[in-house]
């Protein structure tokens, strides 16, 4: 694989191993961190006066799959703004909000990221997702298949067949090579397929006799039963609706009793879009306070931000009805794409403007959530790329988290009415570098059950980012611009022990691996579930069951994660 590397005299932030800015050496051999290596045979990287962290880990970023690709096809005008030439190392491509796959990998890598998970995929089109991820270099990747509006799921729940449900989820993850379970607007997308725009939490889904609450609880239990590495990943109902913080809290609270300690069992994603107060768009406000209070008082839940960054971007989600309402409101081009028996999809390009009241409230809401949740281990930094903004804007978000001054600069320029309604001015909290290492590395890795990611301990995957920031000279609260610049282009990115970025430029292209979960349920249960599934498969789908399965030969560096289920 690779030779030995010593990263010398770096200022190391490795919160998982309680290292907080200590100056030390990090040794790498054969793609893993080791105690020490022979100096003579090692390549030395001088990291003095530089920050050393584990490679970045993104828990939620729409980088590949049918909806991302439709969004690419939808917007040639967007690509024209950022055309990338082929080089000796890089393939050509396009940037902006829906970058081509190669560019996605390169840009992430140049920011020091090494692991990115794609969070919403129709199982029926997983071969497409995987094939795009195969073409997304530089990163370790995985997918979260969608289950929130799945007919089988709703039927198992209606018939109270919980073991079979777990077996079905295990089978699907294995068949389509998914990693975690994602719910998007549970029940609401099925209703949308008949044109119904809003779904109540405790009202049965049309023609299926189960409620969104039951879907949430049932799937949360199934994930628990299967011992999946990541908790239930939820995009709640009523996303993008004034007053929806109540639904967010209700969603988290609906599974509280299932928690038995340890890691969180539910991850509420892109909370910014789900944490509004007010009753309509005119009196919209941030509801972050309420959500933060709940998350602070409970340990069964984690969140990621979905921060909005003022820019032209593209919204895309499996939440078809949300995108329908969005296009009605802003009148832009609109894609809706429903998937039989499983899920939906919507896409609307958008430009977030500082002067726009709603957009300004959105910006405030995300940051308030980040600053009001006390424990950074419960928070992951995301923009829900590209929904809140492109992942290339992460350094901006990091600067806002680290600097009251940086936030203030923007706050002064946003819509005045929104400004007056913001609590940001009074939130003095400023993230430390260690906090940043938590919300961009250690935290997401822990939540994803990636034991070998997000830290620099011996035995972990040697994914490293080195940033040109001298903590003795740079106060991030003041010199946030320096931090932003440094984080946009890593001095070094090391992936599996190979130097892939140097001085902010890609120096080597590597394919990365694709994780998926193989949760083993008892043979008898698996067999009976599968035979029943086979008997009705052709009634549900327009493809044969054998062709639904994604073969491992179609995956570049297929990396199954094996766990044992409780059934």
């Amino acid at each position: 694989m690779t030779g030995n590397i010593i990263i010398r005299n770096g200022t190391v932030f490795d919160p998982k191993n309680n290292i907080n800015g200590d100056v030390m050496d990090i040794a790498i051999s054969n793609g893993k961190f080791v105690q020490s290596v022979d100096e003579k045979s090692a390549r030395l990287i001088d990291a003095s006066n530089k920050i050393v962290m584990a490679g970045g880990v993104d828990i939620h970023s729409h980088i590949a799959g049918p909806k991302v690709n439709m969004a690419r096809m939808l917007q040639p005008e967007d690509h024209y703004k950022n055309l990338r030439c082929k080089t000796d190392i890089k393939r050509a491509g396009v940037g902006t909000s829906c970058p081509s796959t190669f560019v996605t990998g390169y840009d992430y890598s140049e920011m020091g990221y090494t692991t990115v998970f794609e969070p919403a995929n129709p199982p029926l089109k997983m071969l497409h997702v995987i094939d795009e991820l195969n073409d997304t270099p530089m990163l370790d990747k995985a997918c979260y298949p969608l289950f929130g509006n799945n007919w089988h799921v709703m039927e198992y729940l209606k018939n109270k067949k919980y073991d079979e449900l777990a077996a079905y989820v295990a089978w699907t993850l294995k068949a389509v090579k998914g990693y975690a379970v994602k719910l998007v607007n549970p029940g609401g997308v099925e209703n949308w397929k008949w044109g119904v725009e809003s779904t109540l939490f405790d009202e049965p889904v049309g023609r299926f006799e189960v409620t969104p609450r039951e879907i949430l609880r049932g799937m949360c239990k199934a994930v628990h039963t299967l011992n999946l590495p990541h908790s239930l990943h939820v995009h709640a109902n009523l996303l993008g609706t004034p007053g929806n913080y109540e639904m967010a809290v209700k969603t988290l609270d609906s599974v509280r009793d299932i928690y038995t300690g340890g890691k969180p069992i539910i991850h509420l994603t892109h909370v910014q879009f789900n944490t509004y107060g007010g009753t309509n768009w005119l009196n919209l406000s941030s509801g972050a306070e309420h959500l933060a209070k709940y998350v602070n008082n409970h340990n069964h839940a984690s969140i990621d931000l979905g921060q909005v960054v003022f820019s032209k971007t593209t919204t895309m989600t499996a939440d078809g009805p949300f995108e329908y309402k969005l296009q009605k409101m802003i009148g832009n081009k609109w894609v809706n794409a429903d998937i039989e028996a499983e899920t939906g999809c919507g896409i609307v390009p958008i430009t977030y403007k500082k002067s726009n009241y709603v957009h300004a409230i959105m910006w405030i809401t995300g940051l308030e959530a980040a600053l009001m949740v006390d424990d950074p281990w419960k928070v992951c930094m995301t923009t829900d790329h590209p929904n809140g903004g492109c992942f290339t804007t992460y350094p901006k978000v990091i600067a806002w988290l680290m600097s009251h001054k940086a936030r203030g600069k923007v706050l002064a320029k946003i819509n005045k009415r929104a400004q007056r309604r913001s609590a940001l001015e009074n939130l003095d909290r400023e993230y430390s570098f260690s906090d940043i290492a938590v919300v961009t590395r250690a935290g997401p890795s822990r939540l994803l059950g990636l034991k070998d990611k997000g830290h620099l301990g011996v035995g972990a995957d040697a994914d490293v980012s080195i940033y040109d920031i001298d903590v003795n000279k740079i106060d991030p609260a003041v010199q946030y611009r320096t931090v932003r610049r440094a984080m946009r282009r890593a001095s070094y990115t090391i992936k599996d022990g190979e130097i892939v970025v140097k001085d902010g430029q890609l120096v080597k292209s590597v394919p990365g691996r694709i994780f998926w979960t193989d949760s083993k349920v008892s043979d008898d249960l698996a067999k009976s579930m599968e035979s029943e599934l086979r008997s009705k498969f052709n009634d549900y789908y327009t493809v044969q069951m054998n062709n639904y399965i994604v073969a491992e030969k179609n995956i570049v560096n297929s990396t199954p994660v094996k766990v044992k289920a409780n059934v």
Binding site: L83, I339, N547
Partner: protein
């Protein structure tokens, strides 16, 4: 005898995946479940094969070695200042990936059959987007099916029985629960079985859609007929569309190739968008070549653009009309072409075909065609989905892994492998330079 089940049919965009193929002594002996088009392909694919590479010397095509032909193609591409690589709708996605890399390497243009097929539909999509669905959604829910300028009965024979009309779905028993409306200029096979046939005047698609949308907005239409159809009939059609429970509008080249082209599809997109304010409605192209959707997908994720991508300045650039093959030929701008599994000499208007033949022309194809007859270099290839594996996309984007059921003839490589050899040679030549 070997029996292969759940074979994916590599003919049309329906990509039926329930085909059973019997193979005896490396020959397909029997085909079950396929339509006439699919059966014919599996049984007769071998009938007009190319058996050896050919090169034109002194005006006539002579057999040559694979290596020599690969070298000649690579030289042709490296020497060209504006080469075009065209085709791939009958290739696997794996082959498409190699082709995109090759075109990046040579600084050329890559275009595919979309350009003379649903290219205008893609342009309509750029303008307004679309409300669409996987075909199973239509199967389970649609109580109204509209075929606009498409003729599935004759060109996608199993479309109705598997996906859209006669098929039984979860919420629909079959055609008794659905209504079929056909909008076309002629009384096609599909029109003949429709519950309602709206025969419009040629080139008046946009006018009719505009009138329907105006009627949906309850605005007065100040003329007696539009596109040859009385306004009352248009208003009643708008009412039918508006009041269904789940409508599906399939469109074909009858809409995308008539006057206004992409604007027609854009207007259908707007019609369906408007209908979603009343009910649930989806729009879908009925796509022809089995993997034309796949080429668009791979091109889009690798380059940002679905077809007609110009790498001449190092980055991908796209603008139909400028970077599309027909227009490049019409302006006489290309200086070499490599065609993969397509027959543009037969299918492009005569003026541009002539120009195509006047510049160096190479072809990779399993079978003889007018283009192979006109070419300077011909390299035979295997049939993807029959003689080699690979990924293909159905017209609604559902993805399949195609099977290999027989061995290709001796020494015949897949187009993916031929392209890899050309790419290798191109890289070697560029290093020498």
């Amino acid at each position: 005898m070997d029996i292969y089940q759940d074979v994916v049919c590599p003919v049309c965009g329906c990509l039926c995946d329930d085909i059973e193929v019997n193979v005896e002594n490396n020959r397909v002996s029997k085909v079950k479940n396929a339509c006439a088009m699919g059966t014919t392909k599996f049984l007769n694919y071998n009938s007009d094969r190319l058996h050896s590479p050919l090169m034109r010397t002194n005006g006539s095509q002579q057999p040559s070695s694979l290596e020599e032909s690969i070298t000649r193609v690579a030289e042709m591409l490296v020497n060209a200042k504006y080469p075009v690589v065209y085709g791939l709708a009958l290739s696997s996605c794996e082959a498409v990936k190699v082709a995109v890399e090759l075109v990046e390497e040579i600084g050329g243009v890559i275009d595919n059959q979309t350009t003379v097929c649903h290219g205008p539909s893609v342009q309509g999509f750029h303008e307004v987007g679309e409300s669409t669905a996987s075909l199973g959604e239509v199967r389970h829910r649609a109580d109204l099916v509209v075929c606009w300028g498409c003729n599935p009965v004759e060109s996608h024979p199993r479309h109705f029985e598997r996906y859209s009309y006669t098929v039984k779905g979860r919420f629909r028993k079959g055609k008794e629960d659905r209504k079929l409306i056909v909008v076309d200029v002629r009384n096609t096979g599909t029109a003949k079985i429709a519950d309602k046939f709206i025969q419009l005047e040629p080139n008046k698609d946009y006018e009719l859609v505009n009138a329907l949308r105006t009627a949906l907005n309850h605005e007065q239409i100040q003329c007696e007929t539009v596109a040859g159809i009385p306004v009352e009939e248009i208003e009643s059609l708008a009412e039918t569309l508006r009041t269904c429970e789940f409508g599906a509008l399939f469109y074909g080249l009858g809409a995308s190739h008539t006057a206004g082209k992409g604007r027609n599809i854009e207007s259908l997109g707007l019609l369906v968008r408007d209908l979603n304010n009343w009910t649930k409605f989806v729009l879908m192209p009925a796509r022809g070549h089995y993997n034309v959707t796949g080429v668009n997908q791979v091109c889009a994720w690798q380059t940002g653009f679905p077809y007609a991508v110009d790498f001449s300045r190092g980055y991908p650039w796209y603008n139909p009309g400028e970077t599309t093959f027909v227009d490049i030929l019409r302006r006489k701008e290309s200086d070499a072409s490599l065609i993969i599994g397509s027959d543009p000499v037969a299918h492009f208007p005569i003026g541009v075909s002539k120009y195509l033949c006047s510049k160096p022309l190479a072809v990779i194809d399993p079978s003889n065609s007018m283009t192979t007859m006109a070419a300077d270099i011909v390299i035979p290839s295997s049939f993807a989905g029959i003689e080699s594996e690979g990924i293909a996309y159905r017209m609604d984007g559902v993805t399949f892994s195609m099977k290999k059921v027989v061995e290709p003839p001796e020494k015949i490589l897949s187009d993916e492998d031929v392209l890899k050899l050309i790419l290798g040679k191109v890289k070697a030549l560029k290093r020498l330079k």
